[in-house]
């Protein structure tokens, strides 16, 4: 049962991720990306990580993608206004994306050595997650919080009209 669900969700995730790239209309791309996030959230639930699943939906599908949609709607992108890209640019993009793929494949190659060991039914429950985050990984957690704070302050500074 779980395997079938995993396969169906994986199919949806990959198909909609491909459609993000292939869709002509940027609005459709964004909506497919939202669908991808939902499929990935479903995979998290299968891994017993409800908190991660729901946060994935709140943060990515519910906030970031709405902002994407917002920006694309305001820019009103369509085929006529799409800037023409030269052959050289396309070639550079292909090489860069290919290199990224090599890096990803290289990093995932050794991943099966440390496969996930589910320690129990309650692994992804919020109590356990909170205990792990605030006891074992407190420093990385706080450092990433500072990173987010810096990004927020930066965004506010950029948004200000008169920077001295």
């Amino acid at each position: 049962m779980t395997v079938y669900l995993f396969l169906i969700l994986g199919f949806f995730a990959i198909m909609s991720a491909l459609m993000v790239v292939f869709a002509k209309n940027p609005i459709h791309s964004i909506l497919y990306l939202v669908l991808t996030f939902f499929a990935i959230a479903g995979e998290y639930v299968l891994l017993n990580a409800q908190f991660l699943a729901i946060v994935n939906i709140i943060v990515y599908a519910g906030a970031i993608m709405v902002l994407f949609l917002f920006v694309v709607m305001l820019l009103n992108l369509n085929k006529e206004t799409e800037p023409h890209k030269s052959m050289l640019r396309k070639l550079i993009a292909v090489v860069a994306a290919g290199l990224l793929m090599v890096v990803l494949v290289g990093s995932l190659k050794g991943a099966d050595a440390m496969s996930i060991k589910p320690t129990g039914q309650n692994t992804g429950y919020i109590e356990n997650l909170g205990n792990v985050l605030f006891k074992d990984f407190l420093l990385p957690f706080e450092v990433s919080a500072i990173l987010f704070l810096a990004a927020m302050v930066g965004a506010v500074m950029l948004g200000k009209k008169d920077i001295k």
């Binding site: 909506l31 409800q50 906030a63 949609l69 429950y125």
Partner: protein
Amino acid sequence: MSLSLFILYKAILVVIVFLVSLVIAMYSTYAERKVAAFMQDRIGPNRAGPFGLLQPVADGVKMFMKEEIIPQVSNKFLFILGPSVAMFTCCITGAVIPWSTSLHIGGHDFALQVTDINIGILYIMAVTSIGVYGIMIGGWASNNKYSLLGALRASSQMISYEVAMGLAIIALVMSTGTLSLKAIAAAQTGWHWNIFYQPVGFLIFIICAFAETNRTPFDLPESDSELIGGYHTEYSSMKLGFYLFAEYINMFISSAIMSTLYFGGYNMPFIGRLGLSPNTMAILGLVFLFAKIFFFIFFFMWVRWTIPRFRFDQLMNLGWKILIPLSIINVAVTGGVVLFFHK
């Protein structure tokens, strides 16, 4: 409990919650007009049936019978998807609300809650945050500048107020120590309602609930004087009906959430002293919860016919410069109180 019985009971519960949401939303439209009439010293709808009680049915039939217009230039699929998403997201929230304690019938316990997930509050946050897609998709697919402006207003408003709402909920979760709605409702026995522990949080939450449901004084996405009808300008027939209906279901669900989170849910003080049987208690709890819900629905309407609409910059100032700092202070104070007085 056998699996087939479990599935049957859950299916019946889901259907009942769904139907009750629809019927209450239907009669909210009637109540809205009656409350408006009362506030403005009029009579209100009184032609269809006794006291105009069949007015919602007449309105529904009218909506179905109207000509359906889909603009030529709009994206047809997304145009239909918009109201469907709006309707879908407002209906699925009812799944995590504990309507009452459990009924004990024939040796089995039937909890009056569709599902008790351990992250119930976050589920509600997630559903409200994806609810904005219905409005945005519909507004964009209409290919009308007023619709687009309405959709942009709706989304920026909902994102802004979600932040303050989330922070208010964080303070609540800190004082109750759980994210499960069932546990939160069960903890508020007697006079231990969360409103007494989190008054500021409740104030922030109710303001954000008004903004999230696009009700007056925050109904800028559909402000008629500036945007004709806002995001649903191009909609006709039942698709318009779905948008309007979704607003009323949202109102019902947010009233239920406010009652559950801050006003004791199905609890009522002193009821435990009467020594009633658990089944009677469960049914009484249901009645109390619905009394609280109806009070909040009335409150929504009361505010609508009392307070004028905000300007959009005032709305943004209120959200970002007043509510968010206030809710952060609330979180800090709650943290201090929990740290120094409880453990």
